[in-house]
Symmetry: C2
Amino acid sequence: MNNPLINTLQERRQKLAQLIDIPAILWSGKALSRNFRANHYPFRASSHFLYFAGLPLENVAIYLENGQLDLFMDNPSPDSILWHGEMPTRDNIAIQIGANNAYPLKELVQKTQDAATIPVQDINTYQQQYETLKRPLILNNFSIDITLAKAIILLRLTHDQSALEEIKKAINVSIKAHKTGIKATKTAKIEAEIRGAMEGYILSKNMTCAYNSIVTTHGETLHNEKYEHYLQAGDLLLADVGAETPLGWASDITRTWPVSGKFSATQRDIYDIVLAAHDHCIEKIKPGKEYRNIHLLAAQIIVEGLVDLGILKGNVNDLVEKDAHALFFPHGIGHLLGLDVHDMEDLGDLAGYEEGRTRSDRFGLGYLRLDRPLRTGMVVTIEPGFYQVPAILEDLNFREKYHNDVNWQKLEQFSDVRGIRIEDDVLVTKKGAEILTKDLPTKASEIEALY
Amino acid sequence: MNNPLINTLQERRQKLAQLIDIPAILWSGKALSRNFRANHYPFRASSHFLYFAGLPLENVAIYLENGQLDLFMDNPSPDSILWHGEMPTRDNIAIQIGANNAYPLKELVQKTQDAATIPVQDINTYQQQYETLKRPLILNNFSIDITLAKAIILLRLTHDQSALEEIKKAINVSIKAHKTGIKATKTAKIEAEIRGAMEGYILSKNMTCAYNSIVTTHGETLHNEKYEHYLQAGDLLLADVGAETPLGWASDITRTWPVSGKFSATQRDIYDIVLAAHDHCIEKIKPGKEYRNIHLLAAQIIVEGLVDLGILKGNVNDLVEKDAHALFFPHGIGHLLGLDVHDMEDLGDLAGYEEGRTRSDRFGLGYLRLDRPLRTGMVVTIEPGFYQVPAILEDLNFREKYHNDVNWQKLEQFSDVRGIRIEDDVLVTKKGAEILTKDLPTKASEIEALY
């Protein structure tokens, strides 16, 4: 029992028991088929399951009560051993994760009374959940499921030492993947080559990607998942790529670098504004600080910079007040990071938003994924950006609303800046902020030096 | 209309109309969530949809009747354009794929009467299918769905020129990925590094993997999807890795090479037996040849070789008759290849098995995925192997049944041969066989030269 994983898992189970006295059943889920049953996507266990069970086990359930864990799992079939090799038995796994008891999966039905659960993503297991519990799974009002969800959120909002170690492992691989990507740009002809170099590096470290990579010269397409553009000497390349450890912990890093190795003067002007927002936001991070205000600080610094460049006109505060920043920075300053890259987003805004708060209707605030006071042990991303999104800048309503706030002619001089984002992963500490991704430089000159 | 993709698609639709006179609706499917809704697995459209619609469109349906295609698709929402960039509209897509008409998705309900369909893999779309058609989807007896399935199988069993061009594109990338993998072995310390080099290459060519790669020093674990073993100088590395083109066409190649760059004498002895089986099987490929007999030929050649080495004892035909080959070669000689790596395996054995045939109960035949006479235009894999699977060789029933057929002491001398497979993709032509993967050598000395 002197295994650090077991100690961590047992502490988490004890902490859950201190928060709620209802039993909980968490399912791990099953692999999903791609084009035919045997050709499946790589299995990803439910994050809530991973938090308490530790290992990415397929088709397993755990029963948590009073700090104890009962494992419900079937032993591998002979046919499975033939095709997949010798695999750990239920009893092996029970020892590895410090289970108190271990049973075949079919015995789970005997433990369902009054048990709460969290719905998983794959609909096959979801059906199994409500068929086993014989009731709908409800995440609103005063259901036991929401009571469980809120307790788990409270635990997962701040990270223990084991979690931080895993996140740091993922981050270290992501940092090297980004450096590999910058170097690969020298000879690459299409975006896919840079993606291949970065993801190839992540795979070579026996990790996977925490999310679909964005590797594009069209950073203004915020969720771009195509990699087919040819690289032009004057382009910026935006890479949002993060590794995930085998135990499921995520990292999330974005850098933007010039295809030629040198920022143009206009690119550098805007880059430095985004970097200033990034640096100032991280400086302000400390326990108790409202994350929403970090977001608004980024908005203010971006507006200040754009006023200085002559792209925006007028009073900085007034411009932020009327969401002029969102013309160029239409997303939130960041989000929680943990087992999920948007941690616990499977629960909607329950984790991201402090109880009683909801998403704003404001153009410049509605996309904020986190609206809580920061706490020691949280890991958040800080990811300001500047984008010229055609769907925004060519929108007639926006053109009219911001007609006098934007110097549209001046903006045309910055046409070689389609999208810039700088994203780091930051741990909230008692003293302020620890930039977990600090080994990957952010300054324009340092980025150029990595080329 | 002089677009080669459109011509191909229209020919396929015309051919379908010649086979059946019932209308068909094919759904493309939707992306599946990984750990939360917005974090999805890379979308893969249904292969049957791709065959007639050509493009990997998400959440789209096509209605096929009398050689005509009606497209049912919603235009991208403004929010979607904001996040995913400008995307083709329904009318753009209709032109690209040569649709005769194009409607919003909601109008599909007006076309459901008497229409057949093929169930998709993702259960969300599957539910949408039977809710739209207002009936269960049935793939047995005389349902219209099975009539459609059989007609599509008849078309997809043999490939047109466009299909072959796509398969060859995938193969060319896979060949270079394997060469990259062999080279990467020189400096790699764990399996994952070789996988990263191979898959990184595939990604860099803007392709994806047609299936989860097997890259392992434990080739005896037939469906090994872990990459964590350290490489030892005396190990063989088995890599079963194949690229898929952006339009969804697959390739499937396996090579086995020595970690040190040089096969040991025992490894080479067994390798040459597997290669002899591979070469003889390909030689026999021609239209009309029963694929099952190709499998049995592989069994015979493997047994002959093992008798010559003194690992098996007795008469070759008798040994094959009692499935002694399957002790070391417990899978089929190969399968159909096309849009799916096991082509049309979503339909069970409907595609792989000639009407009226079913899987054999024999240990040495039951895993055969294809049991049909070969036809011009089919692409099949030929993938003999030799494995020392503990679950087989340590099985007491097998030890007893084959007690006098195996020289167990002799076998121990070959303990450095855990798993070997050599897999090529072969087109059945009028004249015989064209090895589509021939640019990747198979001879042991040539493999060593690639190191």
